[in-house]
């Protein structure tokens, strides 16, 4: 009886170690650049150079399009994984095919626009007012990866262990109540 906690811990540790090997690393690649773009990190780090200047930036459209009366917001995520809001007209966002989210690679855009460290039009937001979409690669849904069979076996094993334990617990509690 004394060794049961130790054995249980050892079993759980072994089990978790097995699970560790099942984790994929999620990564996304960017298409080849058409021309050199400034990164969002660069824009934020050196506002004295870029503030209120026309810049060129590339990235994937992520999130939803936020349509307002006088325009619309969309967001570009660059290769460093940083995201920035782009203010534009309704006509531009109407051309978007895919908005990036789980399972969907959003359209990839190269745009020129005016960068604002503190936008006077939008209550101090850090944003870009779009001038022109220079190029546009249409996104696509990502292939769905099936559940790994090893993961499924592990899960069944764990489920059966849980069920067994619950039954033992149920019977013990019933016995205690009867006593």
């Amino acid at each position: 009886m004394k060794h049961i906690p130790l054995l249980t811990t050892a079993f759980l540790l072994l089990f978790l170690t097995g699970l560790m090997s099942l984790s994929p690393i999620y990564a996304m690649e960017s298409p080849e650049s058409a021309k050199t773009s400034v990164s969002i990190h660069e824009l934020l780090s050196r506002p004295e150079i870029y503030d209120q200047q026309v810049i060129y930036i590339e990235g994937e459209i992520v999130g939803q399009v936020l349509r307002r009366k006088d325009g619309a917001w969309f967001h570009l995520k660059d290769k460093d994984g940083l995201m920035i809001g782009i203010w534009t007209s309704h006509a531009v966002v109407d051309n978007f095919s895919f908005l990036g989210r789980h399972g969907i690679r959003g359209d990839y855009l190269g745009i020129t626009g005016v960068y604002y460290k503190i936008c006077p039009l939008h209550g101090g937001d850090t944003d870009i007012h779009l001038n022109e979409v220079v190029y546009h690669i249409v996104g696509h849904p990502l292939p769905k990866s099936p559940v790994s069979p090893i993961k499924a076996y592990f899960l069944i094993l764990l489920f059966l262990s849980g069920l067994l334990l619950w039954l033992v617990n149920y019977r013990l509690q019933k016995k205690t109540n009867n006593d």
Binding site: I4, P5, T8, L12, L16, L19, M20, L22, S23, P24, I25, Y26, A27, M28, H41, L44, S45, P47, V62, G63, Q64, L66, R67, R68, A72, W73, H75, K77, G81, L82, M83, I84, G85, G100, R101, H102, G103, K117, I118, H122, G123, G124, D125, T126, D127, S145, V147, K151, A152, F154, L155, L158, F159, S161, G162, L165, W166, V168, N169, L172
Partner: protein, 500 residues
């Protein structure tokens, strides 16, 4: 001092098992959500999380039958151990999702969510499965009310109940019965959940989101605000919405969330005037005003946000977010160091240190301790203006008038001192890893006070040692030291006894 026996460990393990067992059922929410949204891989990941916690809880319950009544020692140890083990197991589905570089990173996010801190080192956040994203916010909601509070509703009356609840920083009994207190806390939160989600849904639609996305963002942002958690569904946090009204509603709910649950209960069911009498509200308003003054001076000096709208949406929002220990952001992390200037940063750091109210979802020093600290200073000064033999009494109003006793002041001062030491310790750890003093202190305060604002240090690429320090800071800050210190003493004393 009484020696620690195997029976003590059995009591601690048993009740920890009970808490973990009940907590495990919350992991069924993302499983169901993932199945509905056809995110089957995520459903499997969360099933692992649910079953692991379920089995661990049952094993502890079965193998360790308590042979004595739970004491304060056991209650505090149960709280510390439950939070630690819950973090380790909840990190499992995170890690399996592939959105974290290591298990340590997954633990960091789990601890950050549970403690309602809001710092995150998740990868590809804008491509997260919706069920995983939703769960991150639900976790802050659960952590905000307290994971012991969940178990408390189901625990037998003679169990570890109130002792563990105190260890979790919720010592105000709203109702004499501990079980009913737990229920009342959840009732208050669920009523606000309904109101808040509806409000965010309407404003989300006005901001340009579709009905579905408005609902998703509404639920997430309500939980983030009310729990003073600070997470958001997208990587640029609240800046994503570009909508002042949305930010205003966030502010409303993180102010409400940073108020004592007892005060909500009092206002709803007893006396509405309590809102204007409570010392924590007065203390919060005074410190907020002082910090706002510093911040405005700092931002004006740095030449940023000259428009009142910008000053409000960026300066005041961040300050309030810091003071309520929420951590939602309407600027980029790097802008703190590049644009804000030292005085503004100092104001935000001060606000983060002070935090919200006791018995709320907020972290930090807490309003009641700030009030006690300043009241006791004033009391010492006042004494010189009275005859030596005069008996002076100082009172504070917190659910009725309370006399300030020396014991109360001493305990508040000890906690304040421990918080200061923890923040300094975290700052030293940051500097050892090559970061400057200001950013190191900022990030350390943010982790320790469970805020979640970041000036850029918190990234997946930061050193592992620093991640461990911040995890410890979040844990210590959320449970306010006592239960963790008691647990560590319990462990070391057991080891020492074994050696002897």
């Amino acid at each position: 001092m009484k020696s620690i026996l195997w029976e003590d460990w059995k009591t601690v393990f048993h009740y920890t098992g009970v808490c973990l067992f009940f907590l495990s059922f919350t992991l069924l929410i993302p499983v169901v959500a993932a199945v509905i949204l056809k995110e089957f891989n995520t459903a499997v990941d969360f099933s692992f999380g649910f079953l692991s916690l379920f089995i661990l809880g049952l094993l502890f319950r079965l193998l360790f039958q308590p042979e004595r009544d739970a004491s304060w020692l056991h209650g505090l140890c149960v709280t510390a151990l439950t939070w630690l083990l819950a973090t380790l197991v909840i990190a499992l589905p995170y890690y399996l999702s592939g959105h974290f570089n290591s298990y340590l990173d997954a633990c960091f996010d789990a601890m950050s969510g549970l403690t309602t801190t809001g710092l995150s080192i998740i990868q590809q956040m804008d491509h997260l499965p919706l069920s995983l994203n939703l769960w991150r916010h639900i976790l802050t909601f659960i952590g905000g009310q307290g994971i012991i509070v969940i178990a408390l509703i189901f625990l037998p009356p003679l169990g570890v109940g109130f002792k563990a609840l105190v260890g979790e920083g919720k010592e105000d009994r709203l109702i004499p019965s501990v079980k009913e207190t737990g229920k009342a806390i959840w009732m208050i939160s669920f009523i606000y959940l309904g109101i808040g989600t509806a409000l965010f849904w309407v404003i989300g639609k006005m901001a340009g989101l579709s009905s579905f996305w408005s609902l998703f963002h509404g639920v997430c942002m309500f939980m983030s605000s009310w729990s003073t958690g600070g997470f958001a569904p997208q990587s640029i946090n609240t800046l994503y919405y570009h909508f002042p009204l949305f930010e205003a509603v966030c502010m409303l709910f993180f102010i409400l969330g940073s108020m004592n649950f007892g005060l909500h209960f009092y206002i709803w069911f007893k006396d509405k005037k309590e809102l204007f009498k409570d010392i924590e509200i007065k203390s919060f308003l005074a410190t907020l005003f002082f910090c706002l003054l510093l911040l405005s001076l700092g931002l004006v000096r740095s030449g940023n946000y000259s428009q009142p709208a910008a000053l409000f949406r960026k300066g005041f929002f961040i300050l309030l977010s810091g003071h309520t220990s929420t951590g939602q952001m309407t600027i980029y992390t790097t802008q703190f160091l590049n644009q804000w200037g030292d005085l503004s940063l100092l104001a935000v750091m001060l606000a983060m240190v002070l935090g919200g109210a006791s018995g709320s979802t907020a972290g930090g020093l807490k309003g009641i301790r700030i009030a006690l600290f300043f009241k006791s200073i004033l009391f010492e000064i006042r004494r010189f203006f009275y005859p030596q033999k005069a008996v002076l009494i100082e009172k504070i109003h917190h659910f009725g008038d309370r006399i300030i006793e020396e014991k109360l002041v001493k305990s508040a001062l000890i906690i304040i001192l421990l918080f200061v030491l923890m923040h300094l310790g975290g700052a030293i750890a940051g500097m050892i890893n090559g970061f400057g003093f200001i950013p190191s202190l900022f990030e350390s305060i943010s982790a320790g006070a469970n805020v979640g604002l970041s000036c850029g240090i918190t990234q997946a690429s930061m050193p592992n040692s620093l991640k461990v320090v911040y995890i410890l800071n979040m844990w210590l800050g959320r449970l306010e030291f006592t239960s963790i210190f008691v647990f560590l003493f319990f462990v070391f004393r057991s080891i020492f006894q074994l050696k002897r």
